[in-house]
């Protein structure tokens, strides 16, 4: 027989622990003046290839570093190390996404002061990473032209959690009869107003525009931080 029960009202965010760490990370990133960009996509959409290109080119004028998440190997970090910038692998074991605590642990012993950009490459997965804030300023979601124009409609949650869509492997667009308009339409349907950029890490198409976009977003973030600091300074004591 069921015993009588009563309900205790509580209101607790199940992801509170992750969100608290993510907030602390964001604060630390802002204080250090580093602009943090995360990359999510399905496996094989070209996160590492784009990152390799980005680190090499952006690293010529800015100080950049990267953390890369992977289930089992350190191959990506080895690949990215060729760009001669600090890179660290986060091997997640069987965990299918990065969490804020993993980023925090990976950054132990790192000095962020003086860094301009930190990139965080998530595990290749279009489902699980959407729920976890990593403290990043900007989340990029990548979809390659070989994946089909309706990818955003199939995975609306991850596209909705991201700030920018990068359509990758654009050099293959013609060969696979990729319909750019249909793809943009899919993105706008699940995330109205989202910026969409086309890139090819292989041919270099769109890379310059992509790097320019990152720099302008970084400058914008710094300008906001500076004006907030000025406001704080200008506020008279009461």
């Amino acid at each position: 027989m069921n015993s009588p029960t009563r309900i205790i009202e509580v209101r607790q965010n199940v992801l509170k622990k992750n969100d608290v760490i993510a907030r602390a990370l964001r604060q630390r990133f802002h204080e250090a003046g580093v602009f943090v960009v995360s990359l999510v996509s399905s496996p094989g959409a070209g996160k590492t290839a784009l990152l390799e290109k980005t680190l090499t080119l952006l690293g010529q004028r800015s100080r950049v570093a990267a953390l890369v998440g992977d289930l089992a190997t350190e191959n990506d970090a080895e690949r990215l190390a060729r760009s001669q910038v600090p890179v660290k692998q986060i091997v997640t074991g069987t965990v299918c996404h990065l969490e804020a605590a993993m980023v925090q642990n990976a950054l132990e012993g790192w000095t962020l002061d003086g860094l301009d950009f930190l990139f965080i490459e998530n595990v290749g997965n279009l489902v699980c990473p959407s729920s976890y804030d990593l403290g990043e300023d900007l989340r990029l979601v990548l979809m390659s032209v070989t994946e089909g124009e309706d990818k955003p409609l199939k995975y609306p949650t991850i596209f909705n959690s991201a700030d920018v869509t990068l359509i990758t492997k654009i050099d293959l667009a013609e060969a696979v009869e990729f319909n750019a308009e249909a793809a943009k339409h899919s993105v706008q349907a699940v995330r109205p107003g989202m910026t969409v950029l086309n890139v090819s890490a292989k041919s270099g198409v769109g890379v310059k525009e992509f790097l320019g976009f990152l720099r302008s977003r970084r400058d914008h973030a710094r300008a906001i931080a500076a004006s907030q600091a000025a406001d704080t300074f200008a506020t008279p004591e009461k």
Partner: protein, 115 residues
């Protein structure tokens, strides 16, 4: 499949709450789950059972209330439901908007305990 780690967090939270209240026995956990949370209800229910094994919550139920997505429609100047996850437009006037105000929550809202 991150539902198992979500389920483990729910069980941890419920156990902490129970011990704060003198180890009261928990029969059910009430959860609000946003449709944009990235968590699948059925996978979470299956994971919850596993997460409860060998804990004080073994045999308890997880009661999930799914929370629809609401956006702020600037045309209607009000919170409105979206047409669907594949079409983020106001059900009232059809204006597309990405201004999500509800639908990402994964909140424990109540614990059903013995009287």
């Amino acid at each position: 499949m991150h539902e198992l780690s979500i389920a483990l967090s729910i069980v941890d939270m419920a156990q902490e709450e129970s011990s704060r209240r003198g180890d009261v026995a928990i029969r059910a956990v009430h959860l609000q789950l946003g449709l944009l949370s990235g968590v699948v209800k059925d996978a979470l229910l299956a994971s919850y059972e596993m997460a409860c094994e060998h804990t004080a919550l073994e045999g308890s139920r997880l009661i999930v209330e799914e929370v629809p997505v609401l956006v702020f429609c600037h045309n209607c100047n009000a919170k409105k439901p979206v047409h669907s996850l594949q079409s983020f437009c106001c059900t009232e006037c059809g204006t597309f908007t990405g201004d999500v105000v509800q639908g990402r929550e994964i909140f424990v809202v109540g614990l059903e305990v013995d009287k």
